[in-house]
Amino acid sequence: MSSAAHLSTEELARLCATETAKFNRHEPSDTQFCFELFRRALTDGAPDAFTAVYRVYERQVQHWVVRHPQFTFAQESPEYFASQAWSKFFFALRGAKFAGFASLPQVLRYLRQCTFTAVTLYMRDQQRGQTISLEQQASIAQTPDLMERVDAEQVASRVAAILPGEHDRLLAHCVFVEQLRPREIMQAYPGYWADERAISIDLYRIRRILRHDYTLRQLLGVSNNT
């Protein structure tokens, strides 16, 4: 057991802040105090310890947020993503799960991963929000993830089954799953299509096939024939 284990949380918080400041000045630093603070916060579930580590690393997490290349395109503040990262971090490591971490760098690396996840998930949601209607957004918000995935798997299988060739299936994936624009498809798959016009022509044909498939319409809950 390290000497840090005998210190009060208040004393640990003070030493953790001091050692972190040393680290940031590129001076030799001792990681045991911060690690013990994290351990108390997560394994023991001590709220004062969690508040203390949050305070020490608050700016650091916000710094990671702004380093995410997509942050430039997000309409939220660094604090917003930092709160989410901390929330995910706590939930993932609380209780016995923290035992898998042996050192402070490991813990911080995971915290950084949580920051990446928070920004990335937000960007995925933003992209999705741009392409679906408000009614759909409401229905998706109420649908459990598992059911959503089962539905998607069935729909994707049906789309794959009714499209005649590999090229068509690839194009359908690009457009309906990844929501890429013709220009992005050209860049991602050079040589597959002559130009953007060729992509549009293939896509019109694919849309025609999908629109007239009774099973697909049933799966998507769209009854009217077009």
Partner: protein
């Protein structure tokens, strides 16, 4: 119902109308033909449902991408991920984001705060409704944001601090289990609490002062309750 101006518009013309590139004659046809307008509506619904259902349905979570990038996945999972990355431009982009974010050397730098950030956050994260405070005085404070109600009971302690007992009630209670509550005064963090399965949270010692309460659910929803005057409610 039949087309009022035969021949009905064809499938490619429908697609052009959906893409906003239809010719004038097609738009004119749609303006006077309920049958073809209905076909257009059905086609639009189908494509919206299709993109809404399929959007990145087979993509790994960002956590898995991060584990892949740091070689923490099993051999089998790594092979699956590699196969997916070969056909998914979006995930390739996210993986590059991860590498870019992690390439930087560890240093603490103050982030740049954007001028619009506060307004954007509060405007969009109140779940579409203004938070309402009522019950100031002896009873609990009740704050509402969309389908979420937060009850706060603040009691003065003998040492000049206050204790806060909170209860979050929502239509989807499970969504808020494990949510992180942050209490801030003048921008500085004074306490963090995690909401339990029943929606309860407690802060044993809170200094008096104007307090901001932020609740962040694991799935990202955030509720912000501003200008909570602990002294006024607690005394």
């Amino acid at each position: 119902m039949q087309c009022r101006m035969p021949p009905p518009i064809n499938d490619d013309q429908l697609s052009e109308a959906l893409d906003g590139v239809a010719e004038h004659a097609v738009l004119k046809h749609l303006a006077i033909c309920p049958h073809c307008t209905e076909r257009l509506r059905a086609a639009r619904t189908l494509e919206q449902q299709l993109t809404g259902t399929l959007y990145r349905w087979d993509c790994p979570t960002p956590d898995l991408l991060a584990q892949y990038a740091t070689s923490e996945l099993s051999a089998e999972a790594t092979a699956r991920m590699t196969n997916h990355l070969n056909v998914c431009v979006r995930c390739q982009g996210e993986l590059n984001d991860f590498y870019a974010m992690f390439a930087a050397k560890e240093t603490t730098v103050m982030p740049t705060v954007r001028p619009f950030a506060q307004a954007a956050r509060y405007a969009r994260l109140m779940l579409g409704q203004a938070t309402v405070l009522r019950g100031a005085g002896a009873g609990p404070i009740i704050a509402e944001a969309g389908d979420v109600t937060i009850f706060l009971d603040i009691q003065p302690r003998t040492d000049g601090l206050a204790s806060l007992q909170g209860q979050l009630v929502a239509t989807d209670q499970a969504h808020w289990e494990g949510a992180l509550v942050e209490l801030r005064q003048h921008g500085a963090l004074v306490a963090t609490i995690v909401i339990d399965a029943l929606g309860s949270f407690t802060c044993a010692a809170l200094p008096y002062g104007t307090t901001e309460l932020r609740v962040t659910a694991l799935k990202g929803t955030m509720i912000v309750l501003m200008n909570l005057n602990i002294a006024a409610f607690g005394s």
